[in-house]
């Protein structure tokens, strides 16, 4: 197992280098003088100082050298400084990560808790009316962009029924409380999970249908086990194995979805930060978020691979 984990880590190193190369390439192509944004504002902002500092930091060197200089800075946590406010990008991102994680974990939880049971139900009632209704729902779920679900729910639940607040993380002018945060979190998390419920349902259904025809399920039935046992113990535990990977490869989609839901609900996470950055053409901020999200995706993929190997010994020894 240790060997397997080591191998997965090693495979990911060139990919991580590739990610930094891609981000650096984008930075180099950005208009203006993007590398100057990596010089600490405390060292001065007048052109003469910047010119001197550029030489000192090696920003006038050939591209490969510039890349290495930039990488050395990035590894030390210097992702540059925001264009207008001069806040260090890494500190700003760090501040926003908890809110995004809270939103994503809640959405993931809702997706699994709702999607998996519905998928099992749908598979067991294959081609009946409830199954067809759910399959229709899945199509609607994967075909409706997060921003439309977001606006629609805002229209119905916040403006129409006034059940939920229309944005933010806390009610202004009131003390922060857990209940208040949950109240603000509910609608964006539900919206972010809509897509995810649909894909969980779809994969669970397919995976269940694959397993249900297997010999060992027939054997379990033939032994006279009650149907509940057959489904929940024998079929489900094997059907869930591929589902683990679905959780992993949904992370990029959840991050993308967070960009929209956070923007619509003014949720103070990385997604809305990124959109702010794009709108104000704040390249260091944009690239910082891009780098952090890609690294996070890579990390979660690694975790998924390991989790998959843990529950499925066939992979480990392949």
């Amino acid at each position: 197992m240790v060997q397997y984990i080591l191998r997965r880590v090693l495979i990911n190193i060139p990919v991580l280098i590739g990610i930094t190369l891609a981000v650096f390439l984008l930075i180099s192509l950005a208009p203006g003088d993007p590398l100057s944004a990596y010089i600490s504002p405390e060292l001065g902002r007048d052109p003469a100082t910047i010119a001197a500092l550029r030489t000192k930091f090696g920003f006038d060197q050939p591209l490969p050298v510039r890349y290495l200089n930039w990488l050395a800075q990035a590894l030390q946590g210097n992702l540059g400084y925001r264009i207008k406010t001069y806040d260090p990008v890494w500190a700003v991102i760090l501040q926003r990560i908890p809110a995004t994680l809270m939103l994503m974990v809640t959405a993931l939880g809702i997706g699994i808790v709702v999607g998996v049971p519905l998928g099992i139900f749908s598979a067991l009632r294959k081609y009946t009316l409830p199954d067809m209704v759910l399959t229709g729902g899945v199509f609607l779920g994967i075909s409706t962009p997060a921003f439309l679900v977001g606006l629609g729910s805002l229209f119905v639940f916040s403006l129409g029924l006034r059940l939920f607040p229309a944005g933010g993380m806390h009610t202004l002018g009131r003390d922060e409380s857990v209940i208040d945060t949950i109240h603000h979190l509910a609608l964006p998390a539900l919206i972010l999970s809509a897509n995810y419920i649909a894909s969980m349902l779809r994969y669970t259904r397919a995976s269940m249908l694959d397993v249900i025809g297997e010999q060992y399920v027939i054997t379990a039935r033939a032994k006279g086990l009650p149907e509940r046992m057959v489904i929940l113990k024998h079929a489900l535990s094997n059907a869930l194995i591929p589902i683990v990977t679905v959780i992993g490869f949904s992370i990029p989609n959840l991050l993308a979805g967070a960009v929209f839901t956070e923007t619509i609900f003014a949720w103070p996470g990385m997604g809305s930060l990124f959109v702010d950055g794009v709108n104000s053409r704040d390249f260091p901020l944009m690239m910082g978020v891009t780098l952090v999200t890609a690294t996070a995706v890579l990390f979660f993929n690694l975790l998924t691979d390991i989790a998959y190997a843990l529950i499925n010994p066939k992979v480990r020894y392949a």
């Binding site: 075909s143 993308a256 929209f260 959109v275 794009v278």
Partner: protein
């Protein structure tokens, strides 16, 4: 020269592709999807005939009017006809979908074939490249790239920049798929036979192997159009895509980010919003039926 696939077709009359076609035709949802997509395409092509009102003309006497006989989808804040804007917006959305997917299918196919065929270092480089691109959530890398590309292009060419960026960043899944199939087909007897007869490498790849991968290519392209349409809509919704006043479904929905428009002028965003959902769901119906039809597991 006939490709092996079509030669086999003629010989047996009950080939894999015919059986797949028969399975595809059985799907009612796919039929509905095809009809809707065809309808959308016709509306987009015939936009000037269908939508009589100018999508860009402000009419200050008829601002913010709900749907009526004259303006069936109502008018927006500046009195522009929402129906016209939705139809013209469809032109952009469908065009972005088609062009972006053509680009990503071309790149994905060629790199997948080359990667699977040559193996070794080439394969390694291409596959690591797919790993790198797939690590970026699509909307994030596209949002980061579009302002940079737009900066290099004249403003009226931004839309082509968007198509190019979407196409350049969405090919990895297809490349992996085609690579996997090429790896297998590379050792197939008919390919070895072709090699023995002196077929060049390019010929083996494009004439002998490519036709066998067409099924998965077609499925990818179908779903790809749907996701390219969603990406463009999302991009425009966040203000980075098609720039107003040119209408696109995404930037029409974007106006509803103002709570006032969201609450008081629902027709201005519901119409383009429905257009996105109906188009994308129809394309997904087609894609799903195609996938079931070519999946060897479903008989």
């Amino acid at each position: 020269m006939q490709s092996p696939a079509s030669a086999q077709n003629l010989a047996t009359g009950n080939s894999t592709s015919r059986r797949a076609w028969r399975r595809f035709r059985r799907s009612k949802l796919a039929f509905v999807g095809l009809v809707v997509v065809a309808l959308m395409a016709i509306l987009a092509l015939a936009a000037p005939l269908v939508a009589q009102q100018d999508p860009l003309k402000n009419d200050l006497l008829n601002r913010s009017k709900p749907p009526s006989a004259e303006h069936i989808f109502g008018t927006d804040r500046t009195g522009r006809d929402v129906f016209s804007r939705t139809i013209y917006g469809g032109r952009i959305s469908l065009l972005v979908g088609l062009v972006a997917v053509t680009l990503s299918v071309s790149i994905g196919t060629v790199l997948g074939l080359v990667s699977g065929f040559y193996g070794g270092l080439v394969d390694n480089i291409v596959m690591r490249l797919t790993d790198v691109i797939m690590a970026f959530p699509p909307i994030i890398i596209i949002m980061a790239a579009v302002p940079i590309v737009a900066n290099l292009l004249p403003s009226e060419a931004t839309i082509y920049g968007i198509m190019a960026v979407i196409g350049l960043l969405t090919w990895p899944q297809l490349a992996r798929l085609i690579r996997g199939q090429t790896l297998v087909l590379h050792g197939a007897e008919y390919v070895i036979a072709a090699q023995g007869l002196g077929a060049s490498k390019a010929r083996q790849m494009f004439v002998h192997i490519l036709p066998q991968t067409l099924a998965s290519l077609l499925v990818f392209a179908t779903f790809g159009i749907a996701s390219a349409i969603l990406l463009e809509a999302g991009l425009s919704f966040l203000g980075q895509g098609v720039q107003p006043p040119t209408p696109s479904w995404g930037n029409m929905v974007e106006t509803a980010r103002s709570l006032d428009i969201l609450e008081n002028l629902p027709w201005t965003w519901a119409a383009p919003g429905m257009a996105i959902v109906i188009t994308v769901i129809s394309i997904n119906f087609i894609g799903d039926a195609l996938r079931d039809a070519v999946d060897p597991k479903s008989k």
